[in-house]
Symmetry: C2
Subunit: 293 residues, 2 copies
């Protein structure tokens, strides 16, 4: 298997679908659609939809269903970035090497573009060409993952974290498992549901995505210290500037790299039951470990 | 039929459900849940869920299903009010006689509380004890009504309206049919779907809710000129202050009252096919016409 080619095949389908489902508009809505597209089609890594597709693919499922459901999750991820960057939140000026949404379109339009993408996600799920029972399982899992008991809950803890350096490892893990992990978990879970996974398979995939999601965040923390600004598309050192507690502040770079390696191995081991079929996901875990942005 | 008693019976079920589905929390999420509850349980009129329940009731359906789906729509309505009041939007200090959400909890928490309520709405729908096919019809209709081609689209036009007094009657109607009408329409539609309405019945209910929604907005425009601040719970004259085009600026009070009466009659006539069973909804239309807040 050619990992890069497989990855491109997945992302090509996602880009095409997203471009289609959030189109250019030529009426009063032209600016809001443009703002939604600005952030949605700005070269994200598409980790979540790729994960959804790859899990379904591994199980022998079709690619069309996880392309749609994964793209809905990508809309939720993008809305969260737009709202996170707003002045009343992290007040960030750059994202993926480009000015943030509100820097280009203003706060009002950015707020509504975020709201629009969140709504669009559930519109996509509602209209997806997926059997009713699977669609509802995805809806239930995604809406919980993105809500106050999931991603938003993680944002709440993260904002407290900025004001309060007294954060334990357990709290840091809870924050990450909600803020970043929840959407990664739901992407993998939906891929499993769409691929017709058994209970045993779902348990294994949950173990995989749980370790992978935490590894992803540890890597983010490391990159915020050691990364290349040009590759990252945003300033490095922002965690230190905001006095945030991260894996690096708690453990140092060397130990954080060790934790990252352990988590990646743990994620990969969880896929043992799938044998050779897990080839792409195993390389995907290494790809996330080695990424430089 | 005792209209007031029936209305109270409906709203009691809604309040109970909302209180239950957005509970108090005692962990890191306590503030965000409190902020969500502050706006959700602050004495709204519950027009949308009552409409959903009453339509379903008229068709002989159970009350439990439209209580849940109507409450999801109320969560969407409440999120839209919280975001609408934010400094980067209308920058309002009072709503329903109380300080707005961001005045109490700050912009960051208010933004996330709005996001949380929008997510919660879809979580409620996903978990609702409603047959799969009906649930998905409701999901499709609600997500479109609340999205960029619905309510958010109306907010976009409304914000342009503030900066540009050159708004035609048609544009004003489009704005209202999206900003206020879309959620009212979807509440009635979902009530119809849950009540097992025929195509003919759905058409009649759509005619009813479409006229009712516009009448509701004309009344709002009138109240912004003639209303009692104490009853309204917010300052009157804010439309004039923001130089907004409204039915009153376009037609004057007298003609606006006439339009309001005509729309209410039109809404009521649409229910002719239901005979006596429409009694509550006919009184409901009059209640909205005569309301003083």
């Amino acid at each position: 298997m050619d990992f890069i080619k497989q990855f491109s095949d997945y992302t090509e389908k996602i880009e095409e679908y997203l471009d289609d489902v959030v189109p250019l508009a030529d009426n009063y809505q032209s600016e809001i659609y443009e703002a939604m597209r600005y952030s949605l089609l700005s070269g994200g890594k598409r980790i979540r939809p790729v994960l959804c597709m790859a899990v379904c693919d591994m199980l022998g499922g079709s690619l069309s269903e996880p392309t749609v459901i994964g793209s809905a999750i990508e809309c939720i991820h993008t809305y969260s970035l737009i709202h996170d960057d707003l002045p009343c939140m992290d007040n960030d000026d750059f994202r993926r090497g480009k000015p943030t949404n509100h820097k280009v379109y203003g706060e009002t339009t950015a707020l509504l573009a975020g709201d629009g993408l969140l709504n669009k996600a559930f519109e996509i799920i509602g209209n997806a060409d997926v059997p009713d029972d699977k669609k509802i399982l995805c809806l239930m899992n995604i809406s919980t993952a993105s809500g106050v008991d999931g991603m938003i809950g993680g944002q709440v803890i993260d904002l407290k974290n900025e004001k309060n350096a007294d954060v334990s490892v357990e709290e840091l893990k809870t924050m990450h498992s909600l803020k970043t992990g929840a959407l990664i978990d739901t992407a993998a879970y939906c891929g499993a549901v769409l691929g017709g996974a058994t209970e045993t398979e779902i348990t294994a995939i949950k173990e995989f995505s749980s370790a992978l999601g935490l590894a992803f965040q540890v890597k983010d923390d490391i990159l915020d210290y050691t990364g290349n600004e040009e590759l990252l598309g945003k300033p490095v050192g922002s965690d230190a500037e905001n006095e945030k507690v991260t894996f690096v502040t708690l453990f140092g770079i060397e130990k954080s790299e060790e934790i990252l390696n352990e988590l990646t191995e743990k994620a990969k081991s969880a896929l043992d039951i799938f044998g050779d079929k897990a080839e792409f996901l195993l390389e995907f875990a290494d790809f996330l470990l080695e990424r430089s942005y």
